[in-house]
Symmetry: C2
Subunit: 205 residues, 2 copies
């Protein structure tokens, strides 16, 4: 038997649909014997590359998106409140994730959940380094070491590389899930992701 192939989960910490996906993707993958590789990136870098902008800034789509977010959260049975400010810069959160991941994948994932919930449930401004450090400290991460690391060149470079890799992989939004080369954009593709995984695991048996 070959080991299960990993699913790539690309997301920006300021993406509400990314937050929704973060609460669902691990369980869906697990049901089909797959692992998920969490890959935060900076959506702003991608938008700059392809000339796009946040949904909430597009005429008409902004008001729609606000309603859709509340309805989708209810549909998926997830706590949610649209934070203000929104969207925010997420380089501190994403750098923290990669710094933690170098030593402890599980801890990095716990931090990702905590950061998403801090922003989209509690309304804490995760663009502020002090908030990111406080979120990590609650997971028993050394705050002083983290604060120093967030300014380190190799940590910054790790995130720059991830965003470049996202562009190279064709990622143009968040969340973006890639399964064996097949791309799925948006949390509304969850049923198709489930169907795709079921089909692949049936074919592999």
């Amino acid at each position: 038997m070959t080991p299960p192939k990993t699913i790539d989960f690309w997301f920006d910490f300021s993406s509400p649909y990314g937050y929704f996906m973060s609460e669902k993707i691990d369980a869906v993958a697990r049901r089909h014997g797959r692992d998920v590789r969490w890959r935060p990136f900076l959506l702003g870098v991608v938008y700059k590359e392809i000339g796009s902008r946040p949904l909430t800034e597009v005429p008409l789509k902004g008001e729609y998106t606000r309603r859709d977010l509340l309805r989708t959260a209810r549909f998926l049975d997830l706590p949610f409140a649209l934070p203000s400010p929104f969207p925010v810069a997420t380089q501190h959160a994403a750098r923290c994730f990669y710094w933690l991941q170098a030593d402890d994948e599980a801890l990095a994932r716990r931090f990702a959940h905590a950061a998403y919930r801090a922003y989209f449930v509690e309304g804490r401004d995760i663009s502020q380094q002090v908030e990111v450090v406080s979120i990590a400290a609650a997971l028993e991460v050394d705050g002083a070491a983290l604060s120093a690391a967030l300014g380190d060149a190799p940590v910054k470079e790790r995130l720059r590389a991830a965003s470049a890799e996202a562009i190279a992989a064709g990622v143009f939004g968040s969340p973006y899930v890639i399964i064996d080369g097949e791309p799925f954009w948006g949390v509304d593709r969850l049923p198709q992701i489930e169907a795709w995984l079921a089909e692949r695991s049936a074919a592999g048996r």
Copy 2:
């Protein structure tokens, strides 16, 4: 008992996700005792208003959309082949719909299904008036009367009014479904439409 409130189904005949929705929305509505008002409009008029453009013309999103369409068709168990040319102008098809609808709502709907399938299954170029007339003729519509009507000022005005109404209703894409004021954009919102209708009909009992 109050009569069931109508659901508005806005669509452009050149919208593949609109085609998918056209094959599903009536059955979903019927399950919850609702009627659907089919409302073709010109997406190009709306895009001009809000400064948007077809998904297939956005960098990266074009290739993704082509894959997503094939996968979504399979997921929804619908026949589909991306036609060429795509997208096309749809004023003849939409005007034919409204012209038929003035006398016979059911016939207009049969025509809408036939036009969508002609384009997205058989690859017939429905931007051509001759194709639209041929599709209608197969439903026993008088071709000569239709050809004359498609150039009539009141028929043209009916479509212009529909597109203006779409913009006034906040419609910015296709398909766009509005249920008691709540907007749903995209065929991927079908599960949320179903949940919304179930909740409303439970509340109304």
